[in-house]
């Protein structure tokens, strides 16, 4: 059978055109990314080697690695990193567990499951300012909800009235109080990830586990948990990056205080640049935050790849 063939070189011409069109479509985003991401990154790295108040570019003074030396000898920064690690471990673990539990409970699509799905998701959709204002009123030491309940007759009967104190003003409880508010806000997001993840496990798998006599916990630990590694990875990476970037809820509830008890890298960065006019020092905090995010994400992705291969 005779076939009509394109003249030699036409395919290459067509491909070149396609490639050009492709680059044409990519050009706007490449330009924007170049301007706002690549140049932004370059500028932050550059000014991290300068002493600068962030106002007059002519007053920039090169100081080499001095900002980094100051940063790593600053006990407040080391505390901020430690706070971020505690925040990360507690928040991600609790949110993963609670999100997965709620997702499992909602999986059978019993009566009212849509309502509860929406209910658990509402805090995610709310502004952090709303969440922070609500929790600030909840923790308020004199007439706040928590202390009022603790010091009520009911609280006295339970013997917990002695726990009433300034939850956000006491360095030993302030970080925990912030973590609780953050978990409340974002647990619904993890729930949605796990609901999506659970749809990838077929009903037959659950039925097979049931036939084999596996109860709730064996099914969870031996069937559900290993099948959800891609979801775990997403949740953990988002949690890690979120913990390192954590700013709004902390700033609105404690401003990094009392003292520096709830200081995070991002709150220190804001304080340095916006309040203390230390743009160079603040930039060095930014660079360390970026490196931390990249490093932790790389470790997690490699761990996940090894899990998959295994």
């Amino acid at each position: 059978m005779a076939t009509t063939r394109a003249p030699a070189g036409a395919f290459q011409v067509l491909r070149r055109k396609e490639v050009l069109w492709g680059y044409g479509f990519l050009a706007p985003i490449l330009v924007l990314m170049g301007l706002f991401v690549v140049y932004g990154l370059y500028f932050v790295v550059k000014i991290s080697f300068f002493k600068w108040d962030g106002v007059d570019p002519e007053t920039m003074v090169f100081r080499g690695f001095r900002n980094y030396v100051l940063l790593f000898s600053d006990t407040n920064f080391l505390m901020a990193v430690l706070n971020a690690v505690i925040f990360l471990v507690v928040t991600v673990s609790v949110q993963m567990f609670a999100g997965l539990m709620v997702a499992l409970l909602l999986r059978p699509k019993l009566f009212g499951h849509r309502f509860f799905k929406a209910l658990f998701y509402i805090p995610v959709a709310l502004s952090t300012t709303v969440i922070a204002t609500t929790f600030a009123a909840f923790y308020e030491p004199n007439f706040g909800v928590l202390n009022s309940v603790l010091t009520s007759d009911f609280g006295k009967t339970l013997g917990v009235s002695g726990l009433a104190h300034s939850w956000l003003g006491d360095p030993s409880t302030a970080l925990g109080a912030v973590i609780v508010a953050n978990i409340f806000q974002w647990m619904g997001a993890q729930m949605i990830f796990y609901i999506a993840g659970l749809t990838t496990i077929s009903d037959e798998v659950f039925e097979a586990a049931q036939i084999d006599g596996a109860g709730f916990w064996p099914t969870l630990t031996q069937v559900v948990w290993p099948s959800l590694w891609p979801t775990h990875t997403t949740v953990i990476i988002l949690g890690m990056v979120g913990a390192i970037k954590t700013f709004d809820i902390v700033w609105l509830l404690t401003q990094g205080g009392p003292g520096n008890a709830t200081q995070f890298p991002a709150t220190m960065l804001y304080q340095s640049v916006a309040q203390n006019f230390q743009a160079g020092y603040g930039a060095s905090i930014s660079v360390v935050m970026i490196l931390l995010c990249i490093g932790l994400s790389a470790v997690q992705i490699s761990f996940n790849n090894r899990k998959r291969e295994a």
Partner: protein, 439 residues
Amino acid sequence: MKKMALSVVLAALVAFSLSAADKVVLTWWTWTLPTQEDFVVLKKGFEAKYPNIELQPSVNQMDDYKTKLKVEFSSGTGPDIMSMQPGSMIDQFKPYLLDLTAPAKATLDKLEPAIVAEAKLRSGGDAVRMAPLGASSTMFVYYNATYFKKAGITKVPSTTAELLDAAAKLKKTYPDKVPFTLGLKDSWFNGDVFGIFADQVEKGLLEKADLGTVKFTDAKFVKALGNLKGLVDKGLVDKNSVGVAVYEDSIGLLMDGKAAMHVNGGWNVANLSSTKVKNDAGKLYSDRREGRATVDDVFSAFPLPNFNGGSPVVLGGIDIGIAINKNAAKDPAKLDAALKLMDYMLAGDGQKFETGRAGAGLIPSIKGAKMNLTPFVDKESADGANAIVTATNTMMAGPRGVTNPAVFTQLGVAVQNVVNGKDIATELKAIQDVYDKQM
């Protein structure tokens, strides 16, 4: 016909563009004061007086304001007029501000010479880079005079012992209320708390440390923070204070009738106003007096007693000043418009409105002017307003804050840590370290 219509349209466009070009547009950025509501009145009044000038105001949150100014000045632009504060703000931005000494001489001559001298000092000493709109001071104890009366407190406390006694009487009469609330959650306020305790030990002590003539580790600062710690030990300052914000927690407790005393700056004088009196717009002089549990109560104020013994002192001076962007001088029409606005705000109807509005809490800088006391009809509230004015005029120990904002932040951290029981010497060393580091 078409040609005629086209000519009419063109003529209208030319006329419109000419009238628009004739107008000088002035941008004015500020934080807190004047408020959005103030600007409605000020813009209307100013533009009516100068129809060829259009005023474009912008009110910002303080941190945003500083960030916006930084970005604008870095790129060589910025607003034509901007509000300035003595201390780190003017220190940072003064290279971009016009020296007002010669161009605004006529206006500056109408102001109290001492305030103009202070403006020059706060501008670096070589020029006047902000024209003072008004003065204020801190710290005062605002109190519910109705509660005081019921608790049998007949004398306004002026010593530590009297304040402790008043708190004890209030606790006895009102067991469910907080006798004394001091919000220590915010760094902007805690820096002032540090300053007042320091200057109670020695007038101008914080300013000396700011200039480097005294170390923050000096025994006088140990004494100052020891006095603060003493109030915690005596139960007057609650450890819970560290979790209480000045706005809206602490002030809210007082205005909601849940607390009897609250510490704040003199700029809150409007809260002493009576709910029986309304302003020209038919509103109460203070929003915080509207619809609260204390609507029928009488409020007053007195200077924070000197916890080191002796007479009370206050910190403050120029609360807010008006500055002109250096770039405005390049355009004679713009500079002329900016100077007209400055005169309107410092010595004209704008000044009468802004400093006459009790809510602004400003003591006018203009020669011979006094604070508007009409909203304070009850004797106690009038006494309180007068006490604020008198203290600002006669008890000033030094300016608010320090020039290095990082040091100011650390002062606040030290206050919180001392209230939470941390070692005073360690906290003072941390301040001195920040001072020495120059990051």
